[in-house]
């Protein structure tokens, strides 16, 4: 075990977060005026509302209004109190959550510590095939230490564990419902939650109707009724918005941005997604086992050009794996950008690419095929742009578009990896999250994210240190070391981070749109009549 913080430092840290939470980050009522009903379009309505068996952004948009974890994500993506009014690390491997007295499920029954324990134990039991079980990998045991107190013991200190409590992986269920989960999530057995809304109608794949709860612990919602409908086709969504049939949608692709902006009664909102778009290069097979080949590729990516052309400027080129905002709580975005200046960033430069290739074992070029998911058009276009640049180096790159599932299954089969194009949207904002997935040797395996087969004991050690500490200074230092080595060795070729976009009727406004739009009670985040 690595040296963590002394107990007092833990207390200081957690109560600091607690204060931030009380400074009004939850603002359900924007004005006095209530809104009777809004209609919201999603690309799809799920077949089940049981998140542990259908972990998707569409399900998150719906159920984040109905269910809550013990904590919530604030507008600034930090953890803020929710049904648990406080949480505390009594030592680096023990967390205690204290529940509010006034929290009830929508059937009127109170939230108890037993419900929280039952929820965590459900995910820990492999027989339940919970899709979010990985959030609980660090848990040693969980018990109700008082009627309103839950104590979680960890196997080892783990800085990333804390986020389960605000993520949809931590949605609290009523213990009775989890006792017989076979039909949970279907229209016959809709999950109850402690959130601001309750489900009053669920037609799978078609629509969900939510009613506001006047007895919500955080105050009654402004919007009384929310009708969520599935409109799979992007053009049909635009027409529905133009016609005033829907009041907004989160399903806005950057490629359609200009069309959305042309809709008169609608306003487009954008926000950094914190997603990372990268190329992985298999370090254990030719030709990418040669660092000079990898550097030649890295120099050949015109990141700025891709952001301007593909993302219409709604994004930022990435010199390293983490978008700057992903370091929040450890370094400010400006500090991150300054740090990124000090490590090799491989700015687009075909002359340098040529020099690197000349030093490699393939000075005369080579041919390869890069598979890519047809469901990720931005990545398809990025690869095609790269292929054109590589042709100047006599590298013959073929872009092979595959069906999404076929490509994904191939990625995680972890064979014949070559070059892969991957994107990852964050589950929480922690600077060690992406490095652990893409740089750590733990994940250079079947079903693992590290498709570069990047294995470096120093980087592993640094990531472990950042994972097992919550002292920001210690974490920053460890991660800076990991990033420096990873960039020198071209562990991945970072491309860019795009913005997310949503559309809202110009009658309304919303102030809390952020990277976790699918994991916050969005209709409670500064949502109200325009000008209020």
């Amino acid at each position: 075990m690595r040296a963590g913080l002394p107990r007092r430092a833990f207390l200081a840290l957690s109560s600091g977060t607690f204060l931030a939470g009380n400074l009004g980050l939850i603002r359900p009522a924007v004005g006095q005026e209530a809104i009777e009903e809004i209609t919201w379009a999603l690309a799809s309505i799920p077949e089940t509302l049981f998140v542990p068996h259908a972990w998707s952004t569409d399900n998150g948009v719906i159920m984040s209004l109905v269910q809550e974890g013990p904590l919530l994500f604030g507008d600034d993506l930090s953890l803020i109190p929710g049904p648990a009014e406080s949480w505390e690390y009594v030592d680096p491997t023990t967390v205690v959550y204290r529940l509010r007295d006034s929290v009830t499920f929508s059937d009127g029954s109170p939230l108890t510590a037993d419900d929280v324990v039952a929820t965590i134990k459900f995910h820990l039991n492999p027989d339940n095939a919970s899709q979010v079980a990985s959030f609980y990998s660090a848990v040693e045991s969980v018990e109700a230490t008082a009627p309103n107190e839950v104590t979680v013991k960890l196997k080892a200190p783990n800085a990333q564990f804390q986020y389960w409590a605000a993520h949809m992986a931590g949605f609290l269920f009523k213990a009775d419902q989890l006792a017989d989960p076979i039909d949970l999530g279907t229209p016959d057995d809709i999950p109850l939650g402690t959130g601001p809304y309750k489900v009053t109608e669920f037609a799978p794949a078609e629509r969900v109707v939510l009613e506001a709860r006047s007895d919500y612990w955080g105050g009654a919602p402004v919007v009384q009724r929310i009708v969520l409908v599935a409109i799979p086709d992007a053009q049909s969504r635009i027409l529905a918005m133009q016609n005033g049939d829907i009041d907004g949608t989160f399903a806005v692709a950057l490629t359609d941005l200009e069309q959305w902006q042309a809709v008169e009664n609608a306003e487009v909102y954008t926000a950094p997604s914190l997603a990372t778009f990268v190329l992985t290069l298999d370090h254990e097979a030719e030709p990418f086992d040669d660092v000079h080949v990898r550097r030649a590729i890295a120099y050949s990516v015109d990141r700025q050009g891709l952001v301007s052309a593909l993302l219409k400027g709604k994004g930022e080129p990435l010199p390293a794996l983490n978008p700057p905002e992903m370091w929040s709580g450890i370094l400010t975005p400006d500090e991150v950008r300054a740090f990124y200046e000090t490590i090799p960033g491989y700015q687009f430069d075909m002359d340098k690419a040529r020099e690197e290739l000349a030093q490699s074992t393939h000075p005369d070029g080579f041919a390869f095929t890069a598979p890519v998911s047809s469901a990720m058009p931005d990545l398809v276009n990025s690869l095609q742009s790269l292929a054109q640049n590589l042709a100047q180096l006599n590298i013959d790159m073929t872009v092979q578009e595959l069906d999404a599932n076929q490509w994904l299954a191939g990625y995680f089969r972890h064979e014949n990896l070559g070059m892969q194009a991957m994107n990852y949207y964050p589950d929480f904002s922690d600077p060690a999250a992406y490095p652990y997935l893409f740089f750590h040797s733990d994940n250079a395996r079947v079903d693992g994210m590290n498709a570069s087969n990047f294995r470096n004991p120093e980087v592993d050690a640094a990531i472990n240190e950042a994972n097992e500490n919550i002292d920001p200074a210690v974490r920053a230092q460890a991660l800076e070391k990991a990033f420096k080595i990873a960039n020198e060795d071209v562990a991945v070729v970072p491309l860019y981070t795009p913005y997310n976009a949503m559309v809202l009727s110009d009658q309304y406004q919303m102030t809390g749109y952020n990277a976790f739009w699918y994991n916050i009670p969005w209709a409670m985040r500064g949502f109200g009549p325009k000008g209020s």
Partner: protein, 338 residues
Amino acid sequence: MPCQGRWSGSTGISGRPPVPSAVLRLVLVRLAQAVPLLVAITFAVFALVYLAPGDPVRALLGARASTPETVAAIRDRYNLDDPFVVQYLKWLWQVLHGDLGRSIVGNRKVLNVILERMGLSLVLAGISSLIVLLVGIGLGALAALRRGGWIDRGSVTLGVVGISSPAFVTGIFLLYVFGVVLDWFPVYGAGDGVLDRLWHLTLPALALAFSVMAIVVKITRAAMIEALSKDYVTFARARGLSSRRILFNYVLRNALIPVTTAAGLVVVGLVAGSIYVEATFALPGLGTLTVDAVSKRDIPLIQGTALVFSVFVVVANLVIDVLYTLIDPRIRYGGSKS
């Protein structure tokens, strides 16, 4: 299939209904034949899904980080690690007990999911068929009667435009004109209640019908032109029958036989077209369900929808063959003589 050569003689048909027991026997024999056919189809679909690259577990987990235990538990829950034949037999055994299993994505009873979606698809297919038959046969007949006139040229042109524009393009066009600009019809969704549903399904049914109508128009037109030139029509005219009676009892009735044959194509066209139309108009029907199931490699759901579509095609063809015997009593099945 009926032998079409046999009715090309010079006498038209106007006759008596077929013997009911022959129709009943036809239905029973065909249903018995359908059982091995359905087993073969579902086995073939199962084999194709099994052989196709992809993994249902990945459809569930996406690119998310997952523990090996989670992956193992999901594989175990849906028998994904069993040998191929064992997986199929387990599925077949369930089906014989009236259970289509549970979907992988959503963990819902496949039968419930299909039943929820089927109503909408049947209504959509029904309205579209009605439009295709009424408008298609009507236009085809008019074109034949006014051969070379503007109706003829117009309906043929319309048919060509229809068959060459994909249903989703027609759909977006109709949505824009009638949904947004004129605001006569709703832009998305399936509606509640009978009238509201009809109102919601009008544009999708039109889009769907438009894409397959050309087949019916062209075949009706050709068959009508041929029937009009037959001797029995000349005879009927010579006997002084009213032109209305000649048209409906002689010409149209004989012309309908090839149109009935084309109905099989129309059914297939409607099933294929419904996939696009359902997505464009945000209708949760069987078409979108199938596409979703395939893209997510949701084996139990793919098997269930394949079974339903196969049964639908078998039943539709049976109905068409029964219709033959009603239209043309000379056609006898099972070896009877004419």
